[in-house]
């Protein structure tokens, strides 16, 4: 399905990442946005609240982030594509019902414009230190999908992609951007609606009385049941069976959690999106995501100029982690380097997958500003010594 022309501001614009993210959601057909103001994410909500009235959307400023997350789940079950945005402290509050969204298998999009933490941290300055929280922040076992845009253009495109993944895999999808990308203003080209491919929700065609909210717990995606159509279905945050009925025992827990995990794991190849460059014959591979994947460019260019064989991987998706690819590369290269604005989060996954097969380096940074490319260059040099 193609985007609805009324939702698409075709043309070249000068937008910051947050506004672009809002436009991405609108182009994807988002019609319900529930949010709570928090720096540095608020421009997304502002953009949407301005744009929605004339295109049939409803923006609601909620009483807090707990309410925002729940409201988008409710609206999604009501048939609306829904999203919210926040930053660190609000992300913590949203974790509770992000888990409910995963458990109920509810499509929606949650944008975290990351700032420095912990606690109130650095409200106006960037960080990438919520990456492990994105992965594990809600209690229990599950898998997540998280995307990391590196520019306003990507903020627009990846928000559409996040909606598509959320509908395809029937789960909340995270956009883990940061203050730099959110407040960076660049040219954003919004294509005509016929060039914007949208994944629409699949509803069950099983007649009321015979349909359950889940088909099988086998890691495949069940079509959703529409509300108000006589299905009179039940869904619960409790461990449940395919009928959506609570079942409190270890067998049901096994089936339910394996399903949520396998839904992502079985389709990891479809979900994972890496942009690789100069990997063949590389001695060292630098990995990064979001703004850090741009910051590393001058360092890589300088190293290459000096004849160092350096490849790079920009992780467009951070979760699920590209285990297979990192394991393969670890057999071939001398070292792999993770550049991230935290003290080692996604790095832990890289190191785990390398499993001693090559060197693993972290170029960490506490946040507040981006890396100095010189630090990245120095680590690349060190790694090939």
């Amino acid at each position: 399905m193609k985007a609805d022309p009324q939702n698409v501001l075709v043309g070249a614009h000068y937008l910051d990442g947050n506004h672009a993210c809002g436009e991405g959601g609108i182009a994807a057909g988002c019609k319900f946005f529930a949010g709570y103001p928090i720096t540095p994410s608020t421009e997304i909500a502002e953009r949407v609240s301005r744009r929605f009235p004339l295109i049939g959307g409803v923006f609601v400023q909620m009483e807090d982030e707990l309410a925002s997350m729940n409201a988008i789940l409710g609206a999604s079950w009501g048939g609306k594509k829904s999203m919210t945005c926040t930053s660190g402290p609000g992300f913590s509050l949203m974790m509770e019902n992000f888990g409910l969204g995963l458990m109920l298998e509810t499509p929606c999009v949650l944008v975290n414009v990351q700032r420095g933490g912990p606690s109130t941290g650095l409200p106006t300055l960037p960080g990438q230190a919520d990456m492990m929280q994105a992965r594990w922040g809600s209690h229990g076992d599950y898998e997540v999908i998280a995307l990391a845009p590196d520019s306003p253009q990507e903020s627009f495109e990846l928000t559409i992609h996040a909606f598509n993944l959320s509908e395809k895999y029937r789960m909340p999808v995270l956009i883990m951007t940061d203050e730099c990308v959110g407040h960076m203003t660049e040219k954003v080209v919004i294509p005509p609606p016929e060039e914007i491919e949208l994944v629409e929700r699949k509803y069950s065609d099983v007649p009321p009385g015979e349909a359950w909210p889940y088909m099988e717990f086998d890691g495949e995606v069940s079509p959703m049941l529409p509300v108000g159509e006589g299905h009179k279905f039940h869904i619960t945050g409790l461990t449940h069976d395919i009928r959506g009925y609570p079942v409190i025992n270890s067998e049901a827990q096994h089936l339910n959690t394996r399903h949520l995990i396998d839904k992502v794991k079985k389709h990891a190849d479809d979900i994972i999106w890496l942009e690789e460059k100069d990997i063949d014959g590389a001695d060292v591979v630098v990995m990064a995501y979001g703004i850090s994947s741009r910051v590393m460019q001058p360092a890589i260019a300088k190293a290459k100029k000096e004849g160092i064989k350096v490849g790079q991987i920009k992780m467009v998706t951070v979760w699920p982690f590209p285990e297979k690819r990192v394991k393969e590369l670890a057999e071939k290269v001398k070292a792999m380097i993770m550049v991230e604005m935290n003290w080692g989060q996604v790095y832990l996954e890289m190191e785990r997958c390398i499993a001693g097969k090559c060197e693993a380096h972290l170029i960490g940074h506490g946040g507040g500003t981006v890396h100095n490319p010189e630090d990245i260059y120095n680590t690349i040099k060190e790694a090939v010594k």
Binding site: G78, G79, G228
Partner: protein
């Protein structure tokens, strides 16, 4: 090996449970203790829905966590068992997406008023068109009888073993002062009056609230040596005084004392979606198409 002997039994006539239309019979028996007040409250809701003659396909029920939180799971409606305290914002999103549906939140005092208190007051303030039914048993029952924001002063609980010394919330006052357009209180034995109030609440456009004072037979009654659940249910009923239109400020509930019941608030105020439409119409005029929900764009 023993042989199964077919007994010569008279054929039993298949009887339909009177509430089969609304109950998920495949989930019965329920988990509630005998003489718990939740059951009669569910009956009152069933009566109300029946009397209203609503298309049950267009009614959604949502609960949070706790004993009353299990209600959604037993009703044959589109039903949502959400997280602790969050049924109201979940219901709010559902209501916005599907304003054609009746949205009913059915949960307990701890769920709605303690952990969910912020959502309760703000959704009342917005006057979102939904009905909130709160079974108030003065205690956290599911977790074993701990003190709640509704526990009357001096009542004992698992975490106020020497008697509660906090001031409890007066729920109708909280609802009314937050903006609810319909507020009533009954006890779990006022089944007919309760059903009538629930009926009015569901029919009322805007945020309507019905408190049901109900016994917790297993914990509150036992910890306070108040007899059986049935004794307590009778006590609440017999010690209640019907005062329609009573000032919500005057209807605090003290420990084992008189309970003022009735309909306290029934006013007209534009609900959320009407305000949304009016606000946008004011600015955009005919360019704005009034929001009516439904799938996709309106």
């Amino acid at each position: 090996m023993s042989k199964k002997v077919a007994l010569n039994k008279a054929p039993v006539e298949e009887k339909q449970h009177p509430m089969e239309k609304i109950l998920r019979m495949d989930r019965i028996p329920h988990i509630w203790c005998s003489t718990c007040g939740i059951g009669t409250t569910v009956t009152a809701l069933a009566m109300a829905l029946d009397q209203l003659g609503l298309d049950l396909n267009k009614v959604a029920i949502l609960s949070g966590i706790g004993c009353t939180g299990r209600v959604a799971g037993y009703l044959k409606l589109d039903s949502f068992h959400t997280t602790h305290g969050r049924s109201i914002p979940f219901a709010f999103g559902l209501h916005i997406a599907r304003p054609d549906m009746k949205v009913i939140v059915f949960s307990g005092d701890g769920d709605l008023i303690s952990i969910g208190g912020n959502h309760f007051i703000h959704t009342a303030r917005r006057n979102a068109d939904m009905t909130v039914i709160c079974v108030n048993n003065f205690i956290y029952a599911m977790t074993g009888g701990q003190v709640a924001p509704t526990t009357p002063t001096t009542a004992r609980s698992a975490t106020s073993p020497y008697g509660c010394y906090e001031h409890p919330f007066n729920l109708p006052l909280l609802a009314a002062s937050s903006g609810a357009v319909y507020v009533a209180r009954w006890t779990a034995l006022h089944i007919r009056r309760l059903a009538n109030s629930i009926k009015e609440a569901i029919a009322k456009p805007g945020f309507s609230f019905v408190e049901v004072v109900a016994p917790c037979s297993t914990l509150y009654a036992r910890l306070n040596k108040l007899g059986t659940g049935l004794d307590l249910m009778k006590f609440y009923h017999d010690n209640s005084v019907i005062k329609h239109g009573a000032d919500p400020k005057e209807i605090d509930i003290d420990y084992q004392s008189q309970i003022i019941v009735g309909k306290f608030v029934d006013i007209d105020k534009p609900p959320y979606i009407e305000c949304f439409n009016a606000g946008n119409k004011r600015v955009f005029g005919d360019k704005f198409k009034p929001y009516g929900g439904g799938n996709g764009s309106n």
